[in-house]
Every structure is written in structure tokens, then in C-alpha cells.
């Protein structure tokens, strides 16, 4: 009886993929029609064909890869610093009750504030160059990680903790054998969100000022009114962001249906 069930699942998945593909083609056609309809001034909504052509050209442009490398570097360092600090604060706040209770409200309420408004301050501190962009990215990545870690530490199953204590585990052993495995999911969630926010922060900072990076590349296209190239670059950026997200998803524990 197993065989028919598997093949029907496969068929359902194939059906979904066909529909997704058909929908994608449908979007392209619809876009092309809108572009040609003349509702918007020409060039503002470039045709699908123009965008695809631009995608093809950009894919072979060395500048794309250099700029991607710059942005990737900045995001990587930003996450290291931001998520690192967030993790540290989260662990500290979880371990020392009074610290957690004292500072958690600040973290909780500052988290949704748009970090971009700190850019002029960061600019004064770090000037042009990697510093400002990394700083904004780190600032953005800090909060989701701190919140996730704090929540994670608090939600460790108290039964596990009692078991650990009844075996007289030292603080270090408790940390390594009980807290760390339990924190894997929240930390990965924090990392995923931190990555998303760090990417936004870095790209926005690159748009405001830079000489490299994907944000810089985008604003150059905008300033020169190269709309097809701008759309194409946006598609590439979104694909890269989506890809990175999917990558982190792979690291998630299977138990959560991931």
C-alpha cells in the first residue's frame, strides 16, 4: 500500500512545480504587457525582455562579483559582531537573572526602531569605508539575536535543569550539555533574522555612501537612469538573500518540520 501514496505525493509536488513555473511565466507576460501599455513613462517600467537582457549582461560583468564580495564581506563581519554581541548579552541575561530583567525591556523596545536613522552618527564615528556599513549591519543584527537567545535561555525545560543539577553538573557542564543543545533552534532563528537585518543595514548604508557593494551598484544604476539594469540587480539581490536564508534553514533541526 506504500507505493501509491508515495507516487501521489510526488505527483502533487510535480503539479505544484508546474503551477509555480506557469505562474512565473504569467508574471513575465503580465509585466511585459504593463510595460508596453504606456501607463507609466517608458523606461520607468522596462519590459521583461529588457530586464532579462540586462540580467544576462550583468551576470557576465566582473563588477557584479566584486561588489557581491564586498557586500558579503561586510555582512559576514556585521553578523559576527552583531550576533556575537547579541548572543553574549542573551546568555549573560539568561544566566544572571537581574541583568536579564534589567536590560531586556530596552532590547525589546529598541528592537523595532529603524536602525537606519543611526547612520549619520555612525558616519561621524567610523567615516567612509567598511566601518560605517559594518557598524550599521552589526547594530541591526544585534537585536534579533539578543531577543532570541534571551527567550531561548528562559525556555530551557526546567526538568532538564533539575536532572542536571541532581547529577551535580558544574556550571560549565550545565552550559555545554543542557543549555547549548537547547539553544540551537533559537540561536539559528536569531541568526537567520540577524542576517536579514544585517543585509538590509549594509545595503542601505552602501546606497547612502560607498564606492563598492551591491547597494552602491544599485544607486549608480538609479542615478544614471538605467532602469532595466536596476531591476535586474534587484532580482539578483533578492535571489541571493533568498538563497542565504534557505541555507540557514537547512541548519535548522528537522524536528520543527524544516
Amino acid at each position: 500500500m506504500v507505493q501509491p501514496r508515495i507516487s501521489s505525493r510526488l505527483r502533487a509536488r510535480a503539479r505544484r512545480q508546474w503551477i509555480a513555473a506557469a505562474a512565473f511565466v504569467g508574471y513575465l507576460v503580465l509585466w511585459q504587457l504593463i510595460a508596453r501599455a504606456g501607463i507609466f513613462y517608458e523606461g520607468v517600467i522596462p519590459s521583461s525582455i529588457a530586464i532579462l537582457r540586462a540580467l544576462y549582461e550583468i551576470a557576465f560583468d566582473r563588477a557584479l562579483y566584486l561588489n557581491t564580495a564586498v557586500t558579503a564581506f561586510e555582512v559576514a563581519v556585521a553578523i559576527s559582531i552583531g550576533c556575537g554581541c547579541g548572543l553574549a548579552l542573551g546568555l549573560l541575561g539568561g544566566a544572571v537573572r537581574i541583568i536579564g530583567s534589567a536590560y531586556e525591556p530596552y532590547v525589546h523596545y529598541l528592537a523595532p526602531t529603524p536602525k537606519i536613522v543611526f547612520l549619520p552618527v555612525l558616519l561621524l564615528f567610523f567615516g567612509v569605508g567598511f566601518g560605517t556599513k559594518i557598524a550599521l549591519g552589526a547594530l541591526s543584527a544585534f537585536f534579533p539575536m539578543a531577543i532570541a537567545t534571551l527567550a531561548g535561555v528562559r525556555s530551557v525545560d526546567p526538568v532538564l535543569l533539575r536532572v542536571g543539577r541532581s547529577f551535580n553538573l558544574s556550571r560549565l557542564q550545565l552550559a555545554l550539555k543542557i543549555y547549548l543543545p537547547a539553544l540551537r533552534a533559537p540561536v539559528l532563528t536569531g541568526l537567520k533574522l540577524g542576517f536579514g537585518f544585517a543585509l538590509i543595514g549594509v545595503l542601505l548604508a552602501e546606497i547612502k555612501l560607498s564606492n563598492a557593494g551591491l547597494g552602491f551598484m544599485a544607486i549608480q544604476y538609479y542615478n544614471h537612469f538605467e532602469m532595466a539594469e536596476l531591476y535586474a540587480l534587484m532580482v539578483i539581490i533578492f535571489l541571493l538573500a533568498g538563497g542565504a536564508n534557505a541555507l540557514v534553514d537547512q541548519l535548522m533541526p528537522r524536528r520543527w518540520g524544516g
Binding site: 536613522v117 538590509i200 539581490i237
Partner: protein, 246 residues
Amino acid sequence: MRGPTILGLATVAAAAVLLELLVASGVLPAYIFVRPSAILFSIVGLFREEALLERLLVTLGATLLSAAMAVVSGVSLGWALHRCRLLDEIFGTWIAALAAAPLILLYPLFLVVFGRGEPTIIAMAYVASLVAMTLKTRDGLAGVRSVLRAVGSSFRVTSAQLFWKIELPAAAPAIFTGIRLALIFALINVIGIEFMINDGGIGGLIADLADRYEVPSMYAAILFVVLASVAFFWATERAERWFNPA
């Protein structure tokens, strides 16, 4: 929780005092670091000369408008995705992908279409809020326990009655969360875009002050934005809790 609150506030106060002393004594350069006292003094100037209150209202107005639009269309779209399997299969994955995407980066595209001004700000905030609202509605409706639907069908309700009397109330918590998220995303994006395009409410004010190199006022404006955001999120949280006692 007296102890922790005091510790938190004491930390902020101590930091402010330390900063004041370091800048006043010249240890920290005065054109980068600003004395907290100077920041406080310039707040008055912000209200009088920079029309801070009007700017705040502009920002709030844009936020509420874009969030309202997102709620209306998001609930409708979420319901449509819930009702029609085909639609969900076509659009569902795209919308979920958009939720993780750096949507705010699309603003140059909106700039070119709508020009530099409120329409771009509202359009951008609308798109950002729409995604969250749609997904929350769809998931909320999908999460309605089947036993409730079974009860409904045993009473032979029409599909309209099913929606209004059973599905919507059951999905209400998720929908209210979606409304709160829509408001939050709207505010973040409104302020963010205002800052990036140097126009509009309090976000544009910060960019303007930075442009004019009014550093203490700039810090004051940033502080004000932080406080305004905090107040806004606290209010929306309270409101959601009031709607959702669970």
C-alpha cells in the same frame, strides 16, 4: 520588579553622565560626540524651529494610512489564499519568499515611478506591511480548528455564515497580530524611507539636520525617533493584548 528597573535606568543615567563629563573635558571630540545636556537643550529648538510636532504627525499619518491599506488588502488576500487552493499554490510561495526579502531596497524603483515624496513612502510601507498581514490572515484562517468547522457544518451554516461567525472570530488572534505587525512594519519603513530620500516626517528631519551639520539637534531628533517608536510599539502591544486576552 523594582531592582532590575532601577539597574536599567541607573545604567542609562550613568552612561549619560559619563558622556557629558568626557565631552565637556575634551577627552572625546566635541564635533562627533555630543553632550547629553546639549541634546536636551536642542529638543526645545526642535519643537519650535523644526516643526517637530507637525513632522511627527506626517509620519504617523503615513504610517496609519499605509497600514490601513495593508490591513484591508492583506485580510482580503489572505482570505483568498485560504479559500482558493490554486491561488495559494500560485502566489503562496512567492509571498512567503517576499516576507524574508529586503523589500525596503525596492524604494529606488518606487522613486522613479512616484517621485520623491509621500506617495513613494506610503507605497513602500504598504508593500512591506501587506506581506505580513496576508500571511498572518492565511495562517490564522488555516489554523481554525476543524472541530469548529464540523460544528458549523452540523448546523448547516452557509459559507458566509461560516466565515463571519466561525472562521473570522477563531482567526481573530492571528489577524490582530497581523495588524500589529502591519503597523510596526509600516512605521519602520515610513521612517526609513523618509530618511533615505530626505523628505517627509521625522525620518526626513534627521537627514535634514545631518545635512545641515546640526549635530546636537540631529542626536536629539534621533532620540526623539527612538522614543516615538518605543511609544508606538508599546501602544500597539497593549492594544493587541486588550483584543486578545488569551
